[in-house]
């Protein structure tokens, strides 16, 4: 029998009971869909994390005073317990694993646009910040040491803020009033997607100006670039222990660890899908085997006729095996489509870029073929071993 005819015959037989065929492959569809979603989400998360870590270069650690809980109200925070600019040199001197320290002061400021008041975030930074978060490739230029020294009133705008304030007008070179002082827009920056800072909605100005504008020396956050995450975190903890007597007053978070935690959460989601997928495939496989056995029993007569007309046992076996594989393949294709839609939905909900590849489809098809062979072998063997004379005696 020509391979074409084997497939054609199998395909024809599947078309006979469409509803039954459709129901019997549901398990496969769900199983493969779970695997597709798992693969897509997992791969996407992995890519995102890898990309973030790569873009980051050295790890960034965020240090911020922990918010005092309400119950701690009795002990009012003393001035020494917030971070100050002195800590920058302190940390640099004390911690060899630290490459750079960048402080941040931020507050909100009112802006008027079309007569409507809007609150926007203004952050005071040093050039180290720009380097740390890879803001160098901004349109225009970034805040330089010279700006700091000469007290230039300049600012960088996140791309979202820029369109919010200036609309379609090119903001570069325009003046922006912050707390009554005019600042010249020198650059537009984009989010690098590194998670820790969100610059697209931010207005960045030189740190000394921010201190004067907000009349505060209190540093909300310190960003520390580390040569090695673990030793830098240990050194920072020791520094705060010695300097403030209690390291627990400060929250020390590594961006790498943050990303890894995020990755772990996704892993859990993956395990759940993996379990659903495996169970569905197992149940689906049993379903396929069951339907194939029913089909063999129903078609003893057909088997007998084919045998009488010259089909060998092998040809009968191949025909049924082919049906089982085709069933699974149809299920796999359906599952991939469902998985594709599911992954699109998830990536839409969780703002992931969806990942799809031909590899995924091929894996699904291979899994399905193997499942088809495994579940079809026994029914096919039963079909092949039907005694044609017994079969034809059913008059």
């Amino acid at each position: 029998m020509l391979p074409r005819d084997i497939i054609g015959t199998a395909w024809q037989s599947l078309g006979v009971h469409r509803l039954r065929t459709g129901l019997s492959i549901l398990g496969i569809v769900i199983g493969i869909a779970s695997f597709s979603i798992m693969y897509s989400v997992g791969e996407s998360a992995q890519q995102k994390t890898n990309q973030a870590i790569q873009e980051l270069g050295a790890d960034v650690i965020q240090v911020s005073p922990q918010r005092t809980k309400l119950s701690d109200k009795k002990e009012p925070a003393t001035r020494g317990e917030t971070l100050s600019l002195r800590d920058i040199d302190g940390i640099k001197g004390f911690c060899p694993a630290v490459l750079d320290v960048s402080p941040e002061i931020s507050d909100s400021s009112d802006f008027y646009r079309h007569g409507k008041k809007e609150m926007l975030n203004v952050t005071g930074i040093l050039p180290a910040y720009e380097e740390m978060f890879k803001l160098q490739d901004a349109r225009g230029r970034t805040i330089s040491e010279l700006d700091l020294e000469s007290g230039h009133q300049v600012c960088l705008l996140g791309d979202m803020v820029a369109t919010r304030i200036f609309g379609n007008k090119d903001p570069l070179g325009e003046q922006l009033a912050i707390k009554g002082y005019l600042f010249k827009v020198i650059g537009i920056i984009k989010d690098t997607g590194l998670g820790m800072v969100n610059v697209k909605n931010d207005i960045l100005i030189p740190l000394p100006l921010a201190q004067r504008l907000f009349q505060s020396n209190e540093i909300r956050t310190l960003y520390v670039r580390a040569r090695d995450t673990n030793s830098a975190m240990a050194e920072l903890e020791r520094y705060f222990q010695l300097r403030y007597g209690d390291a627990n007053r400060f929250e020390i978070r590594s961006q790498k660890l943050l990303l890894q935690t995020q990755e772990k959460n996704i892993k859990i989601f993956e395990y759940i899908l993996w379990t659903i997928g495996s169970i569905s495939l197992l149940v689906g496989g049993i379903g396929i085997m069951n339907i194939m056995l029913v089909s063999v029993t129903e078609r003893v007569r057909e088997i007998g006729i084919r045998r009488a007309l010259g089909a060998t046992k092998t040809e009968i076996k191949l025909q049924f095996l082919c049906e089982s594989i085709l069933l699974c393949l149809v299920g796999a294709i359906g599952g991939t489509i469902l998985g594709f839609l599911g992954a699109r939905l998830i990536s839409y909900l969780f703002r992931f870029p969806p990942v799809f590849s031909v590899k995924l489809l091929l894996i699904a098809l291979v899994i399905a073929s193997v499942l088809g062979i495994v579940c079809g072998t026994y029914p096919a063997a039963r079909a092949a071993n039907q005694d044609p004379t017994v079969v034809l005696r059913y008059e």
Binding site: R307, A308, T312, K313, E395
Partner: protein, 222 residues
Amino acid sequence: MRLTNINKTYATGELSLKILQDVSLKVLEGEFVTIMGASGSGKTTLLNILGCLDRPSSGNYFFRGQAVESLSDKELSLLRKRDIGFVFQSFNLLPRLSARRNVELPLIYQEIPESRRKEIAMQMLDRVGLGKKTERLPGELSGGEQQRVAIARALASQPALLLADEPTGNLDTKTGTEIMDILRELHQSGITIIMVTHSPEMSTHADRTIIIRDGQIVEGSG
């Protein structure tokens, strides 16, 4: 075709049922032989053995000089598809396939390409007078027409031997006679026909009648 001392025993539980006992038989090429006997006498089993669908429990069967009992399943299938055509009492057409596709079935197993298959099938259907109903499903055809399709199917591989198991059993007398006419025509064109029947009327068409009773040939072993 020569059978010597064929025995066929079916074991059902502790009882073993002797269907055929020491059957010896010779059929020459080009003969038209009918096998007659009461139901349960073993005539269908004998036909299955002749058609290489079943193997004897003991004894020898030579088909055109070839010892059948020594052949593998594959070789038996080859013999069936090349040299033997079957016609059954209940037609045994595949209900989902059109008349033409039913006739093409044995050709599929001979790996004949589709266009040639179609051509042969049309020819065969034309020969049994169904040239205009090739795309009908079996359910859309009358009993006599279905049996014609079955005959066309049996002829598609141009077999030397045509085995017919009560081909007129499910048909009324008129269509039965028509089918018999076709079989007689085929016989005249040189095909060996062995037909099982229990109607003495039908056996009058044959060159020779073998009568089988309780698994033994009582008349006409040749």
